[in-house]
Symmetry: C5
Subunit: 357 residues, 5 copies
């Protein structure tokens, strides 16, 4: 996974609230307005946020959904809903830490979902929530299936979602966002298990590089999930009427999931550390094996080669009786073989005694 | 030990409270109803939770025991006892972190026991408790001997168990669950001691793999025990009438045990880390030994082999008096041996001086 | 990067408040006085702080900007504005930890900005702020472009800066100082990415030294940013009228940036640690490769060389029939080649079976 | 040191308060009753706790000392003094974490002293204190010299011990127990210093194993001392009349000692970690030395041996003038020696230039 | 640096308050009494503490300075000034952790200064302060220049020291003691920088041993400075009249210095850890270089030596035409050289392709 660039910032010192749109939007943002209540649900596409009634009429819940960052769509947030310019800047600036901020009449929630793609790489998706009394505004950076199931539940009118206020809808969306970490973690966990099995069977370089990738992915997930936990914990403790008492127990469940995610991430990280140890020990073990073979063959043959070298010397028999008389003995040649066989056996015996074989 | 799959979840975004039964239950759940008091104990099997009187009559204690997760048995918890759908979801979803949650008229406790099996692998068992005023509901994921001894004490009427309310029974069961960690830790500790002894005697690859397994088991135990401690600490501090004052002192003892378990786990983890160091140092030490032998034999014989090579050259005596006159000297051959012996002794002396021998 | 000397201190025991000017100022300090308000902005150069009206007249904001540490410029701070001698000492003493201190009628803020220079080295710049009711004094250690953009905004009268009090100006300057970490971090991150790619392709010594430098830079940045976060957090929580309620929300944004910076620093540090592991494993891997080639060639040829040595011995055919009869066999020479070919093939087969090839 | 078995527990689920006597006591416990006050001291042996007057008469202090765990001696604690069954279980169960527990009319203190034995191994000794208004009960697991000096001071009537209540006696005993760690730490520290010196002089395997033992001992001491600190801190903060105001300042001193012990343990642990690094680097350094010698000798002689091999070939002079004419040159043999000398000198020069020599 | 012995303690169980004089004082302690105020300063030597007026007369400040631990000088502290026997024990017992303790009418402060000596070793010096209303007692373990400059300032009457109470004098002395860490740290930092440069140029064993020494020194400094910070923090927060409001701001400055010292120590420790990595990687890198040379030379010459060995065999031409006919070919000898040259070039090409050259 390539790092997302640190911040697509203006030069240090630029006026705060200046909007830096990360990618020139190819198409204008898609803005949808869903109004629902016990009675039913109506949905329509709007061209700009100026068409949204605000304050929203009591007794009915409104979900304003913005997909894509276009200046037209986001520029109106400040003007129409009184959102602080810094909040708009945070919505536009990708790569935010997950956080919850309280304002007088609304909450601002940012969540950053990290998901594995089928090709093994990972992608981030930042979602911002603005929770007003009867209005929920969500801003997604691009089209995705992140909220597909929640949308369907709302449209189908299944469960109690339509009968509750937008804080429950916000909970359901945050819960869906958090739950998207689980399949990714499951996949990373499977990958680590695979690597472990292969490492035990055959520790090669490629496994180590895969392990390194898994560690990078976990580091990425960790960076995303620790502040997520903080944010959800803060959300659960928010005072005031924006989060109703009944929703709090559901948020506690989201918090449990966030803690569980961190547990899995941390345990996986420890496991990868142990696998690095395992890999290194395997490699050094294999090197030992190779060294042992070299040592044994070399130490056996080096003296033997010396001996045959001795009798390859050309000292002249004419020089006198001290000049290599062995070469002229009847049993000389067999005796040399016997000596060499004795040396080999002796060395093998020594190696076995030292448990090198 | 194979990882328990991260979560057997529905796709992210499914309505919360949707029950996902982990394993299709082969048989229906076993539901037993025990009613006891100073006077005696009666026990009967019930077909569904609808048969359980609720609120339970004062002056008598009821233990509703559900073994196995079947939709029939658990579906009724919400309807009959007013348990929150999320709690039922947590009961069904295996792999929960141990935790304690307070509700208006009951406590919800989840404990996850990790036990070693005779074949050396480890198994998890999740137990959930719902503690009402005079009613304790326990849900176990499968038949096991986890609570056998507590059951027998209750049936036999030994000790004070029958004379106290269900919060004492809940304590006794949680205590039994926590105590099941001790024999497992004892066994892991013995395994580590064995590995240490073998490592010191003969550091081979297999010991290292066993050490790796012990580390994985400890990681597993650690993941289970840290939240367990938190949960027990929270249980000890619960206000309200569900946990009676007299029970609190017993819970403090459970807390002490949980802390002791963590102590043992952490100390064992440190010990295994040191053993990894010991193993690696042993391996590198052994490699050194082997290298030393190779070096000594090679460095002694390489020059000797060169010398005998020299006198194996075929420079022709006819070329003149400068052409290998040594070969024609009377003492040439003995002199070569003398030189070679001198070189060998010199080298051995040098090695000994450098303390390589 | 060379360490900045620990402290340019007087000997231990010198009277506190004694000013130690780090570098003899080549030129006198530049002192500028900016007065602004809704109405407009006037700017003039002053020779000494004695020319600044104090207390500043209400209804107008004053920014006194001192660039360079000269005794004339700083000596007056105590006398004219009642600044504590220790504060003046802290302003003069370079290498302060970022911090915020409250006094009766002013706040003292020190920030230490670490920036990468184009040549890859890093430089520090200490900036001190003294925030009074309608007066902001900033002291910079030398001329730099740190505040260029904020200055321009103020001069151009863009945005709301002129309409707000000096606490907003202080915020804007601190924000600019903090934001100067981002481009540096971006560059360090790119460097680490580059190193990673090269390490995977070709792990050589030079990459490791570059990695070592990156680690040192990160250590430097870490030392600067942790106390920065504390300082900003304290600033956000300051009670009293010096920091207006409306400025607090902007400071929260600065705090978010500080936390984000620490996140990046810590993640980068973990990444570099993993790269060290990767490097070491690559090196040991490459060594293994080399060893393997040596072992294979040596173990194949050592026995062959022995064999040809055997038939190079000069045992005399005249000594009898046992004396190297092979040399006189018709098929002797081809048979030796056949034996040697057999040994080579056998060894290659053994190596392949052990997966060394 | 062998691990003390994790817990000599009854099977999980046994009734709490069931006593498990660790070792069958060979002899019955020794029970001594000391009564003292300003007036004097009387001491007598009692057969069972039933003989002890309780509540103890005011104006006189009583120390009931039980050495050895026999059912007779400990069984009576609950019945006679109203001690909670769990406390009695904790007294009997060896391997408790040091702790302090408050009850209505008494405090329960457990301390676990780890001492080095002359043979270098370590032993643990658990001491329990029950502190009532005018009565102190101590239970030791076996006869030892732990409290010998305090006893003598009390018997001799030196100092102010007789004039103060039993809480001062309890302090004096806890202080003595804590102080017993110092000589052990001193000895471990000396051992580490010795190992360091030997490692620097001659890093061999045995030193590493001694280091490993020292690390295990420190791990053992650490496990004993961290909870000890907590326990003493709690003791110092206990409210109520059992610990008198004047005793608190003495307990603060015990706390200081406990912190000092932890400091020493942690510093020693860090030192041992550094020594492991030192050892490993020494070993790899020595390996390098050996490798260097092998490389130099081998790389010098391998080409020379090749050259002499060349002139050992038997190409027949009869085959023609191209067939090894060198062998028939007048200066051929000296020329070969000259070439070989040149190669050797060249290589030595290259090695020196690369700083391998 | 040799460890200071853990504690020069009496056997465990000795009465608290028993004084153990670390070193038999060669000379009696030097006791000086300085009395000062706005008006002037008088100084005289006293023989024992009994000569000091106590309580000190209001309106004048007294500094009682004791240098050296002699029973005569310290024995009187308890009797004359009501100092707790444990405090006197702490003063005498060297090796105390820095700490601050509050008593009814005085504060007790211990500081442990670690300074580098010119010969590179380190020395400790313990200083104790007893701060009464108008009286400051300092006890130093031996003569030293620790407070020379403060003394001179006081004698010379420079600055405001004479006009303020003894709490300001205590601040000035503690500040001087803390500032003595800076030159030592500066020197350790320079040493580490030197080691780093040498390591990069030429990683040899001696550098590693110097690094190991630097780490030990840092460990020593760390052990001294963390509790120092705690102690100063506590001093700053002390309530009551002993520390005047105006002195608190000066103490905050001391606290800042203590934090800065810890920052430097911790950063230096991290740097040394990275240098260990750098050293180990350098060593393994250099080993690789050596191995590569060996491998290349060996792998090139081993096959060549085999070939020349082949033609050194003595198969008899008389045995038949299959018996080494090459030896009798006209171009046999040049052909062998051509084959060998081809093999060498081929291998060099292979090595280059694998980037081993």
């Amino acid at each position: 996974m390539r790092r997302r660039s640190v911040r697509k910032v203006h030069p240090p010192g630029t006026a705060p609230g200046t909007l830096a749109f990360a990618v020139e939007p190819a198409a204008p943002a898609r803005i949808t307005l869903l109004t629902y209540g016990e009675g039913g649900l109506s949905e329509r596409s709007v061209a700009s946020t100026a068409e949204v009634p605000f304050p929203t009429p009591a007794g009915q819940q409104t979900w304003l959904r913005i997909v894509g960052h276009s200046p037209e769509a986001l520029g109106g947030l400040s003007a129409r809903f009184g959102v602080h310019p810094l909040v708009v800047e945070d919505i536009v600036d990708l790569g935010q830490r997950p956080k919850v901020e309280e304002f007088d009449d609304h909450l601002f929630i940012v969540v950053d979902v990290v998901r594995g793609r089928p090709d093994g790489s990972m992608e981030e998706e930042q979602v911002s929530f603005l929770l007003f009394e009867n209005l929920l505004i969500t801003v997604q950076e691009r089209e995705s299936d992140l909220f597909r199931l929640v949308e369907e539940r709302l449209r189908a009118g299944r469960g109690k979602m339509r009968g509750l206020a937008v804080d429950y809808l916000a909970y359901a969306l945050v819960d869906a966002a958090v739950d998207h970490f689980f399949p990714t973690l499951e996949r990373v966990g499977e990958r680590i298990d695979e690597i472990e099995e292969e490492l035990l069977a055959n520790p090669d370089r490629r496994n180590f590089e895969r392990l390194h990738e898994a560690k990078r992915d976990l580091l990425r997930l960790r960076k995303a999930t620790w502040p997520l936990r903080e944010a959800v914990a803060k959300l659960e403790r928010i005072d005031g009427s924006l989060v109703r008492e009944g929703t709090r127990v559901w948020l506690r469940d989201v918090y449990d999931h966030a803690v569980q995610i961190i547990d899995i991430v941390e345990t996986s990280r420890e496991t990868t550390s142990e696998l690095v140890d395992l890999y290194l020990s395997s490699v050094s073990n294999r090197m030992n094996e190779i060294m042992k073979v070299l040592t044994i063959i070399a130490t056996i043959f080096i003296p033997l080669t010396f001996i045959v070298g001795v009798y390859g010397m050309n000292f002249s028999a004419e020089a006198g009786p001290l000049s290599m008389p062995e070469l002229r003995w009847r049993w000389g040649y067999p005796a040399v073989w016997a000596v060499m066989a004795g040396i080999s056996v002796g060395m093998l015996w020594m190696f076995r005694r030292r448990r090198w074989l």
